[in-house]
């Protein structure tokens, strides 16, 4: 069966550009999570959804970061006016239910020049 997929896998942006990162969770998975992983670090929580409801966005580093999951399936993480410090791997994970095992996608590697 298909796992979590993310696109694009790599994104190079000029400072100040807006970017949109897509996550396709495993079909039927209710919970969806976004994490940011800087080079040499472990992933850090950004936000999570249960179906279409964004239950926690406490990890979003600034108001330039916005996530949505309008139909409770695909999710998009948008970063406006990208800065160099936004360069990282953005990981998406989904789980069948809240509290269940999280399955991670391969990540989108974002490089802001």
């Amino acid at each position: 069966g298909a796992g979590v997929s993310q696109s694009p896998r790599y994104k190079v942006a000029k400072r100040g550009q807006d970017v949109a990162l897509r996550c396709d969770p495993i079909s039927g998975h209710v919970s969806l999570f976004w994490y940011q992983q800087a080079l040499g670090q472990g992933p850090e929580f950004l936000t999570y959804f249960q179906n279409e409801a964004q239950l926690d966005k406490s990890g979003l580093p600034s108001d330039r970061f916005f996530a949505e999951r309008p139909e409770g399936s695909v999710s998009t993480l948008k970063i406006q006016r990208t800065q160099q410090e936004d360069s990282a791997v953005y990981l998406c994970a989904s789980s069948l239910r809240l509290g269940g095992t999280q399955y991670f996608g391969p990540g989108t590697r974002l490089l802001v020049l």
Binding site: F33, G42, E44, Y48, L91, L98, Q102, P106, G107
Partner: protein
């Protein structure tokens, strides 16, 4: 402040050697998880430990959860080059069970040389 401290940060060993990596915290966790991450991929769950003092074995990997549920260790016996990767511990200190949003350690980057 890092909620989960992992050590060592880097480890390079020869095939056949044994090794232990540690995950420590000042907070109590209802459960801790160990993940392995390879370059260009997302973390893959290896095991979840839930009960204080619990020991779980997965082939050559042995996982232990501390009695106070504040620390965990991963021991690999007779390491092989295929064990190379980034080992991450993670948990949610606020949940009653299972994982919601996870807090990760910085990871231990293991290299096993043939």
């Amino acid at each position: 402040t890092q909620l989960l401290e992992q050590s060592p940060q880097f480890l390079s060993i020869q095939e056949g050697e044994n090794l232990t990596v540690y995950c420590n915290s000042s907070s109590v966790f209802s459960s801790l998880q160990w993940y392995r991450q390879e370059p260009g991929e997302g973390p893959v769950l290896l095991v979840t430990v839930v009960t204080g003092g619990e020991v779980k074995k997965l082939k050559r990997l042995t996982f232990q959860f501390g009695d106070a549920r504040k620390d965990s260790s991963l021991h690999i016996t007779a390491a092989q080059p295929g064990d190379t990767g980034l080992y991450l511990c993670a948990g949610d200190p606020h949940s009653q069970g299972g994982s919601e949003k996870l807090v990760f350690g910085k990871g231990t980057k293991l290299t096993v040389n043939p």
